[in-house]
Amino acid sequence: MASTETTTETRNAADAKAAGARGAETAGLEAGLDALETQAVSRPPVLRTLLSKVVPPVVAVLIVLALWQLAYHFELKAHYQLPSPLDVWGSLREKWLEGTLLSYVWESVSRGALGFAASLVIGTPLGLLVARVRPVRAAIGPILSGLQSLPSVAWVPAAIIWFGITDATIYAVVLLGAVPSIANGLISGVDQIPPLFLRAGRTIGATGMKGVRHVLLPAALPGYISGLKQGWAFSWRSLMAAELIATSPDLGAGLGQLLDQGRVGSDMSLVLAAILLILIVGIGIELLIFAPIERRVLRSRGLLPNAR
């Protein structure tokens, strides 16, 4: 093949022929390699997922209910202090029949959603700024992560002094609780981006705002989503603290106010019913909204263990 005496013409012809044969051979080899090395991605059947994911928590809840019933039965506390599960159910039913139960839930959920949306709008650019601009990070990065360890209920007295017992107080407390979580989630998401992605982005021309939009934000998405999850948990918690303290007839009554109503009336069944509702809404939103989004993002990137 390395003969230097062949004229270029015959060499080119020979090369073309050899290249054709080699090309076909390479294509075949390549197809074989591709087939051997590609694994089929299969998802486990729905029924098994249901059995392995749904049954254990249901069993756990049943055990807790049984223990509760036993504690009631043996009167660990007086009945007015520790009502039975059925009593709590009765309170819930009563509120339902009065037609007010859903309005309590709705009042809180709509406040929570609005507060969370506002936190999202503020927390996202704030997180991006802290993550990407070094002086800003040096200045407020530590404060932002420190704020996360401050229980937002601590802001309630301050907010009441500023805004009185109004919706503004409630939203201020929610924002102060959720914004740091969302911003911190985005910051850690950006910090975890492999530098190679940023280099690859720059070489294909994703610089400046294009780099942020096409590389930085999508690459930071998993961290950002876990920040959003935590942000939601913080806004829900802060909301309950604010509603519990800032009660006024002028203000719409949410679950926190329902809780306070139970306390004022020494109605332990109502208190437990309100706690249960707060818990159910909190878990429900996490399970119905955040968990599916997170799972989808992770699965599409091959980051879920069962997706292989």
């Binding site: 093949m1 230097t4 294509a27 197809a31 390699l33 591709d34 294909i204 096409h214 990137r301 091959g302």
Partner: protein, 267 residues
């Protein structure tokens, strides 16, 4: 066989073309660190890559070959000397595929097309065409994690080609692949290089790979990286890594490379 780059320039300058080179690296030096405690990585490198030429930079670790590639890619600035790459931003391929896992194979390519300014309506067809060029027809909707190592590098190659730059920089792109896959990708790269009028600057520490692929092999010495010697590879393509002529030249180059490495143990 050592060819001074000056004769190269003279040879290409005679042809009537808009730019006589795809990349010109002119007396480039690079140091890192503070003045006083500097580490010289590259020392007075002068290389011209002719349009359509395939050049391999070969060297042991510490010869600054990746640094040089970063300089040509415009990701870093030289301490002295100049680098000129006429035309658009050069395409760059890494040892890792560097594909974005949040996009499908096809959308990865389309992103490069979009950033280059290809109209939306043409992107899909162009992406399919490029996938076909790297023999991955039907992989458009595949996620990166669903592809094998060799397939990922081929998608990365298609993404690099999508930039439609005259110059492709490759930083040991096949080093992490198994031997058979690497052979196949050598064939593919040669085929694509011949089918397009792409200039390639390929960095590797693998002598046989360099001889298998390149028209010109430039050996760099280490610490600091200097051009030790240049070989014109006169073996017709398509070559094979196990060809006798490839092996013969590889032995010669390896001897020289070993000599370069040995020098570092002597003091």
């Amino acid at each position: 066989m050592t060819t001074p780059t000056l004769t190269q320039q003279a040879a290409t300058a005679g042809i009537d073309e808009p730019a006589p080179y795809a990349a010109r690296i002119d007396h480039v030096s690079k140091s890192f660190g503070r003045p006083g405690a500097q580490q010289h990585v590259l020392d007075d490198i002068t290389v011209d890559v002719a349009p359509g030429e395939f050049v391999c930079l070969l060297g042991a670790s510490g010869c600054g070959k990746s640094t040089l590639l970063n300089l040509v890619a415009g990701l870093d600035k030289p301490t002295a000397g100049t680098i000129d790459v006429p035309g658009s931003r050069p395409a760059l391929m890494f040892q890792e595929h560097a594909l974005f896992p949040w996009l499908t194979a096809g959308k990865n390519i389309e992103l490069a097309l979009k950033l280059r300014g290809t109209p939306r309506a043409d992107r899909r067809d162009e992406a399919e065409r490029l996938l076909e060029l790297v023999r991955l027809k039907g992989a458009y909707g595949k996620r990166v994690h669903e592809l094998s190592g060799g397939m990922r590098q081929r998608v990365a190659m298609a993404r690099a080609l999508a930039q439609d730059s005259g110059l492709l920089l490759m930083d040991e792109p096949f080093a992490a692949l198994d031997a058979i896959t690497r052979d196949v990708l050598h064939d593919e790269l040669t085929r694509i290089w011949e089918a397009t009028n792409l200039s390639v600057l390929f960095v590797t520490h693998n002598v046989r790979e360099a001889v298998r692929l390149a028209e010109r092999v430039i050996l760099l010495s280490s610490r600091p990286g200097r051009i030790a010697r240049t070989w014109e590879v006169d073996i017709p393509q398509p070559r094979r890594i196990e060809d006798a002529a490839v092996a013969e030249l590889s032995v010669e180059i390896t001897e020289q490379l070993r000599g370069e490495i040995r020098r570092h143990g002597q003091h």
